[in-house]
Symmetry: C3
Subunit: 273 residues, 3 copies
């Protein structure tokens, strides 16, 4: 099923509209191209609504949000929803500031997202208001571990049911649930956290996977998580003595570029609960 | 002549002012440094007009344009024109939205550009309103091919005559015309389209070439196209197993960094019609 | 002492708030992660004040400043100062435009910075109004050389005394002074100037060093300069035939990622005057 999702993505080449932060936007564009999608960025309200209409998916990322881009996200989200596009929310830093938490919640009130992807602290903030954050990183006390996995799966399923969205919680162990099933994914490497924007990149790629597989949102979202984690493993295996996080960044995008459905299916490490 | 254009650029090190999109801006800065120019970015209206005055060339790129940067582009363009600077317009996404198309046309109405560089769909939109686009990429139905090359050359010459600008249309086959002559260039590789921003980078580098060769705008613009395409070929030849678009991006900029006039002259593949 | 500063940084992992330009922001984030810090970016006034409160250091960089980010810098700077955070100003392009010069001076009037880091032309502009600039690069006529070193050291000390800030002037020879002592640092390579944003990266990393070493601002700032220069040397030694400024950019961040206190102490080339 993961293979099928990736094959559909490569075959259809969906155009993904991104309103995203300016920190990681270039990597977001390149990973979309690497996985077989096409990126477009437009965040002026007058421009963005029209741009979204020619796309198939919308990726809203609230890192470096501002008073100009917030109304653009609202307007674009409503338009994309009206057109039946695949919608993804990445609530970067929800819990770290009132504006970010409120904006994420306002977006969720007005727009139905197919997928919401964040770290555990961000998702907890949206679900219960109780997540603690260290800036844009999850707080250690929130982390999903083998010990608390059962309750984390229960939480992911419950929040997915409540929102009607697929919930993707990424970290050392990743959870992706639609309320009924929950993928528990163990791909990836800890060193990916030393690169800026692996989460932003995953969200964009996940939006492309979901756009290309509208009947299989859960599996497509999980496929994206597996693909990113697997790319992190492949990229790391290609690191040479003296390489660090800048080179690792490139190697991960390169690994996505060279990956196909068979490699993904073979390398994915997951169970479904 | 291409060699001479590149040698002039390396010798003079022009300072290029860029109002450009935030997706590819870092690569734009690095390719300007790679080719021998210096980049500066300023897009606040109060700041930008003064900054442009200390530069030699102006590169206006309408990707991720907004209500704050549009008036800056207008004011800066008028100032740069008054000062006799080299002016280049990259109409990213013209045809994809009303705001982009209108902004590009408004800029062309108020400012005379030495060069306008875009893909065939963007240029057709500006010339005839008939270009179709797939976001920021040219539509396949518009593509310049060996079959329609004669009419494409005729179109490029006519639009160059009408605007008084050198028109650079880039794709699998590149056309650069001043209305009289038309360079038909066959450097480059299809894989360059899987990297975000190769067009933006080319525009910035072209602006540097033109700034350093004010008496030879056509040849300088063509030299930039050949240099970018040749860098794409050289960069690709240095790719190893497992490398992908992220590494390719670096290899292209690296190839420009190491290129000189002789290598450009030798590697350029073009005819003049 | 340099070793101790770096060890503290790696051990404490300070969260650094950056309001910085969109040209080099991704590299700024990655070098902060490489050196052991964590980056966060927020520049909307409503968001940024709250975000800064959860951080330990604040890095203000006025490249691509605008009418929205200037008030954010002011408000955030006052908040960070009230909270006793480490504050750093990078006056990118001061002297190149009235808005940049005025903004840098206004920030210095309202906020006490622990460190001000710039090139010689930028710092001269702030100190005497006499610096000349070539865009964002220092003017050759201003450069610190072995010939004018004595007077440059005197200047650095005097401006540090006047402002009560550590002054870091970077170029071929780097000076870092608190008014009493002046580090004269000879690490680095000229080729670093062919990469966009090595100065921005250094400022962010310096802010992390100073945040982790609040009792040793001068030494921490000097340690950051040595670390950046040493990374430039190590990165250059790993360059292969055909590599250029894009690869060099990655190699420098990689070198910081792999550096530790012992390597820094051993590779640092400085004297104290």
């Amino acid at each position: 099923m993961l293979k099928q999702c990736f094959d559909h993505l490569r075959a259809s080449g969906p155009l993904i509209h991104n309103i995203t932060n300016y920190v990681t936007v270039n990597d977001v564009a390149n990973i979309l191209l690497a996985c077989g999608g096409s990126p477009i960025m437009a965040d002026d309200p007058e421009d963005a609504v029209e741009i979204t209409a020619i796309c198939g998916g919308l990726n809203l990322n609230i890192g470096t949000l501002n008073q100009r881009t917030i109304p653009a996200m609202m307007a674009v989200g409503e338009k994309a929803q009206e057109l039946g596009h695949a919608l993804l929310l990445d609530p970067v830093g929800a819990g770290a500031s009132t504006l970010r938490t409120r904006t994420a919640k306002n977006l969720m009130d007005r727009i139905h997202f197919d997928v919401i992807r964040g770290n555990i602290s961000e998702i907890k903030t949206l679900a219960t208001g109780s997540g603690s954050t260290k800036g844009v990183d999850a707080d250690v006390s929130d982390a999903v571990t083998e010990e608390n996995l059962d309750s984390a799966v229960t939480f992911a399923k419950a929040f997915a049911k409540e929102t009607g969205s697929v919930i993707a919680i990424t970290g050392a162990i990743d959870l992706v649930s639609d309320g009924q099933r929950c993928y528990v994914i163990r791909n990836g490497r800890a060193e990916m956290g030393r690169i800026t924007g692996t989460g932003c990149q995953l969200s964009a790629m996940m939006c492309a996977f979901v756009t290309a597989n509208r009947e299989h949102t859960l599996d497509a979202a999980a496929a994206a998580v597996c693909a990113m984690g697997l790319a992190g493993e492949i990229g790391y295996s290609r690191m040479a003595e003296g390489d660090g996080n800048a080179t690792y960044r490139n190697r991960i995008i390169d690994a996505v570029y060279n990956m196909d459905g068979d490699e993904l299916e073979k390398g994915a490490k997951y169970e479904i609960r």
